[in-house]
Symmetry: C2
Subunit: 289 residues, 2 copies
């Protein structure tokens, strides 16, 4: 796990070189290089490894997905969105580079990510590279990531077209789960796996994404600024729709447990210590060791 | 010309269907469907036509470039950027949908454009489609469009690393010319032309882009709100670096004339009434009939 994180960090730094005009590349790199668990790129690489693919072919795509993740954090933190001053314990992007550069740094990451996949992916045929970029565009845009963010904002304003439960699942299947789905699907595509495996892993990614979001909501309730590196209790104080606010803490934990058990059941079929470690860490933090 | 504009309008409307969550698709469509000259997609299609290619193969790409153009307008108009309340005579995107949705609508267009190229381009091999998406990512990001916008913002704050003349050319080669280059280069790629023609047309696009920007700067000086549909004299009042502010009106006109004559010289070699019409319109407005 640690090795994969280091590899991703090294590659992110290498792929994104600072050139003129430096300010924009610095802004892009600032949020991207904040120390993190690199969960999405690691899961992409680990999918390739456990399906007997070659992880060197997946590095550009794995890093592109982390860039998309950084993009979504930068834009989500903007004053006109969630208005968050901190991210991973540091001032958020617009606090350091100003709002205009933060908007543009997000835009730049959103475009650099597929450019990276196209320019740096080696030894894969053009139709496979095109498939990876296609997956990227499907999950990064208005049919997933942005749909989730839009409904999230609408729900804060009390504008719900679906029921509260449906809305909450819609938001996080599209916001949180989308990036995990993208990571794992791309890993499966690079490994040239068949559709049965792809679909099973996709199901895992959806369930994992929802479990991860419930974990996040519970942590916002029970954790500290020091532990999370971002403003705590903000969701609660703003009356935001979360798994804890809608279901209560106990019910949210139960929901988490069901999802995480489904995840274990799928991962059992594959040989992956890393996926098990990730599940263990989440489970132990929420349900106790 | 009119036929191509109508075709582009029809296809833009058709490609971008409104689905749940409707607000984001409405915001994307609002700026995209404001009546305009559709100069970039028309130039893309006309490049294909004059090189004896099949324009039906170019429609998704031409529309994708107009989407990128709309994206750049939406984000440029934001309060944290140029803070413009009007665009093409109508309230700008954030004035209608709010800032958060305007940021997200821009993000969504930026991602939908390459998705459209991938999903709707017919009868071109995957390596050609990949080339088109690659061109798109190169010009939409921090190496072109966004670099231009960043230096534009920096120059307003008086932070220049290059000379004023170099800065101005850098901004507009990257901001304005980039979209024309993208349109014409993609047209050439779809027509499977050789590199000599591609490079010559690329040179045309650069010169045209700069001429178009000087035209724009002069119009901001001599035109009216009714004619342009956006706030007039804003550049002048904000002390912004423009071809008119830097060179003076007469010198700017001379620079425009030189560039537009170079454009005529290149277009002469090809059989295109549409390109000549476009050049005529710009020239007549600035230099008189």
């Amino acid at each position: 796990m640690k090795n994969l994180i280091n590899l991703v960090d090294k590659k992110l730094d290498e792929y994104l070189q600072i050139t003129y005009p430096e300010e924009i590349f610095k802004a892009m790199k600032y949020t991207l290089m904040l120390p993190g668990k690199r969960l999405r790129p690691v899961m992409c690489l680990e999918t390739v490894r456990m399906l007997n693919g070659d992880i060197s072919k997946a590095l550009p795509t794995a890093c592109a997905i982390e860039m998309l993740h950084a993009q979504s954090l930068i834009h989500d933190d903007l004053p006109c969105m969630d208005n968050d001053d901190f991210r991973r314990g540091k001032p958020s992007n617009h606090k350091v580079f100003g709002e205009a550069n933060a908007v543009l740094a997000g835009d730049a990451l959103l475009t650099f990510a597929p450019q990276l996949i196209i320019e740096k992916t080696q030894e894969l045929p053009p139709e496979t590279v095109l498939k990876l970029v296609h997956e990227y565009t499907k999950f990064a845009g208005a049919y997933a990531l942005i749909a989730g963010q839009v409904v999230d904002i609408e729900s804060e304003g009390g504008k719900l077209t679906l029921s509260a439960k449906e809305t909450l699942d819609f938001i996080h299947l599209n916001k949180t789960a989308a990036l995990f789905r993208l990571a794992i699907r791309c890993g499966a595509i690079i490994s040239r796996t068949d559709d049965t495996v792809l679909n099973e892993l996709d199901k895992f990614a959806k369930k994992f994404g929802l479990a991860f979001q419930i974990y996040d909501d519970i942590m916002d309730e029970i954790s500290t600024f020091e532990e999370l590196g971002k403003t705590i209790g903000k969701d609660k104080n703003s009356g935001k729709l979360t798994y804890v606010s809608l279901y209560g803490l106990d019910e949210a934990k139960k929901k988490f447990e069901l999802l995480i058990n489904d995840c274990y059941a799928i991962v059992e079929k594959y040989n992956s210590t890393i996926f098990k470690d990730i599940l263990n860490k989440l489970r132990d933090r929420i349900l106790g060791v």
